[in-house]
Amino acid sequence: MAPVVGQAVPRVDGPAKASGSARYVDDLTRPGMLFGATLRSPVPRGRLLGVDRDPSFDWSGVTVVTAADVPVNVVATIERDQPVLAAGEVRHVAEPIALVACEDRLRLERALAHLTPRIEPLPAVLTIGEALEARTAIHGADNVMKRYAITKGRGRDGLTGCEVVVTGRYETGAQEHVYIEPQGMLAWWEGDDAHVVGSLQCPYYVQKGIKTVFGLADDGVDVTQATTGGGFGGKEEYPTVVALHALLLARKSGRPVKLVYGRKEDVEATTKRHPSVVEITTGCDRDGTFRAFAARVVFDGGAYVTLTPVVLSRGALHATGPYRWDDVSVEALAVATNTPPNGAFRGFGAPQTQWAVERHVDRIARTLDLDPLDLRLRNLLRSGDTTATGQLLAESVGAQRCADEATWASGYRNRRGAGPVVAGRTARGVGVACFWHGAGFTGSGERYLKGRVAVDLLPGGQARIRTASTDIGQGTETVFRQIAADALGVPMASVDFAIPSTRVVPDSGPTVASRTVMVVGSIVEAAARELAERVGREAERSGSTRAEAHERLAGTPALATCEKQYEPPPGLAWDDATYTGDAYPVFGWGCDVAEVEVDLDTFETKVTGFWTAVDVGRAIHPVLCAGQVEGGTLQAIGWALTEKLVTRGGKVLNPRMTDYIVPTSLDAPPFTTLLVEEPYSRGPGGGAKGVGELPMDGGAPAIAAAVEHATSLVLDRLPLLPEDLFEASGAARSGGGPA
């Protein structure tokens, strides 16, 4: 059997998606189904005194749910601070207060308009600065949700005595996921059993949330994924809220309820990428050799803790960039504000800190008058180096190769050497960024998680993969089939992928953290291999063909299934107390080169070329893998140039696709994507590492560097809107220069 790993086989879900027959949650109905909607807080903080129903409205056939109807009013994530529906207080604009459902959507809207929350407003904390000042305390006395410290060598003291010390401050704004399919769930009850089907990344997160609120056992809950129209982290934790709301309405009305968000509601209410402020001071030798790194990282967690501690941790662990430092001190904290909880978004904290460190490396280059690429090449991590947490990088370190390939393919050195090209009113420049991304859960995460996968032998030479890892567009269904087919030694068409449903698939852990292919894929591979061995042994024992042996095993329930649990690589050691050790099993590496054109009259920036080289270990499916890289990069480009969430008084002023601008086909550059393969010895399919988040890390700093090359304007705050460039140019002209 010719191997299918490494081949661009046809995407399994392609025909259904290309013909319109794939069913997303909004395409589903159930008999007697009602539509649901959510009443939300108009203010960022206040005492919730009650919810008034207009007595003149005809409420017949309308179901209303408030906090009083919620058995256990908690959205179970890391902390238990977030209510399913606000009770007694509201902590952010758009916080859910009550739910309504009825059969007719027009009446539903009217009913919602006749429901009014009675709120006594309280002073709110809306920015990182206000939170740190702590004049108003909304979380403990100091508004700090979580802190981490990472120290290597002499820590901050390492700066003393360095030949060149450079300091900078870098900021990023919120980013909205804009998955093109908004959040949605369809829920119903069968007796005491809760059923939901919908748009989600992590079936078992939703299951846990439902069990907590309704006091159900595992088998009393059925969570099934519908075809999901994009997630990018936005459907990691939030779908639990939507599922709970739909179930509450279904329970009270006794009918199935579909709750699908409109775009505006989705932008106003759901999670965003954490805004950040990062201050960095570094010391290096005059020749550019990096010595000491000290940073203070602050993330805006929003009104409830949700996943913020984990996002902050990943941000802190990537703060040094893919570079060697003798001494490191990273102090990271997340603060609470009265804004919707910020949450998971592709990259999970790492894009923010890598924006900072990459801009900072450019600042060092400027200070030393060195070429930014040369400075990077001198300091990039290599095999045998140790990271800030003391992790020894033993294998699969493709940082250097990525830098070589991206800069060579793009002609970076020639373009850079030639200087910015100014023609009429446009200035053209190129910039480079290097980055890394830890694959899999941080620290001991995978050890606690114990992800499981089952593979079944079925009659007729067939096999089936059962996993909770969802395909939300990345191509999991296809790639897992490739891995299993090769391990089983059967054609790919003989391998099925069970629809992720908590009653059918074991808990493989969430679909997050670039862990699907590398971690869960390796469990798929191990289970499939074990079955292949069983078939081989059975064939040998009975003197039959493998096909006959397969059929015999498939007919023997005790032997037909292999369920395996993730085995963390031996020797990985992580200490949560000191934040030292092996932060990740392995890292993905990358280098981006961006070419931009800046209109010197309007200060608009257009990305005209983009070259990216990423070390993915092994590309199981080169086309899908490159698709992850390009899509992730374009999200980084949007974050860099157009995606600005404008708020006033805690309210989003641009909650629509008209004014929250994501890139169109005309804004996107042509991509040259280079897949570098430095195999990881424990990765499936011959060495695959995670790829999902890596491409989010390099785009923004590469673009800022290119803008700087084109215009000499130094920008350290994202996004880089025309007005920001204009302002910077004014400062530069008036002699102030970049701070």
């Binding site: 392609g14 290309a18 013909s19 319109g20 909004d26 990018f232 698709g627 374009l634 999200q635």
Partner: protein, 160 residues
């Protein structure tokens, strides 16, 4: 009110409210759920259909205006079992990931390809400027559409 229109080549008579959007008539009355709603405001293009051959955002079109006209949705381009060259090439080039934008992208691209010839990258990007895709980065969509144009052109040559 009752209107008669042609949908994917078949004559359909439907009862529509005066304010009903074409999108809802297609999805709910006719049960053709391939056409998607991503924003409801004419910004994302997920709801694109052909109205008398021209791509429109069906979330902005009143169904009542479509009496006597011809509508083509993604279902009209080819079924899962019999994909058109365009559908096939888009998929094999990696132009569909989550797939929620795909029906709209395909409909816009079908309008472009119906003009014949092989469009340039820039022409494809122009034709798809109203179809937002958050997953792919567009390069693979552009490659898929152009590959389909090449295939169609070759087929047309073979046929003539």
């Amino acid at each position: 009110m009752r209107i008669v229109l042609t949908v994917n080549g078949a004559v359909r008579e439907v009862d529509v409210a005066p304010v009903a959007r074409l999108l809802d008539v297609i999805r709910e009355t006719l049960g053709l759920t391939g056409t998607k709603e991503g924003c409801g405001e004419g910004e994302c293009g997920a709801c694109t259909v052909l109205l008398d051959g021209t791509p429109v955002n069906s979330c902005l079109v009143a169904a009542a205006q479509c009496a006597g006209r011809s509508v083509v949705t993604v279902e009209g381009l080819g079924s899962a079992e019999r994909l058109s060259a365009l559908q096939e090439e888009l998929v094999s080039h990696g132009g569909a990931q989550c797939g929620i934008c795909t029906p709209g992208v395909l409909v816009s691209a079908a309008a472009l390809l119906s003009r014949g010839g092989v469009p340039t990258d820039a022409e494809v990007r122009e034709a798809l400027a109203g179809n937002i895709c958050r997953c792919t980065g567009y390069q693979k969509i552009v490659d898929g559409v152009r590959a389909a144009a090449v295939r169609n052109a070759a087929a047309a040559r073979g046929a003539s």
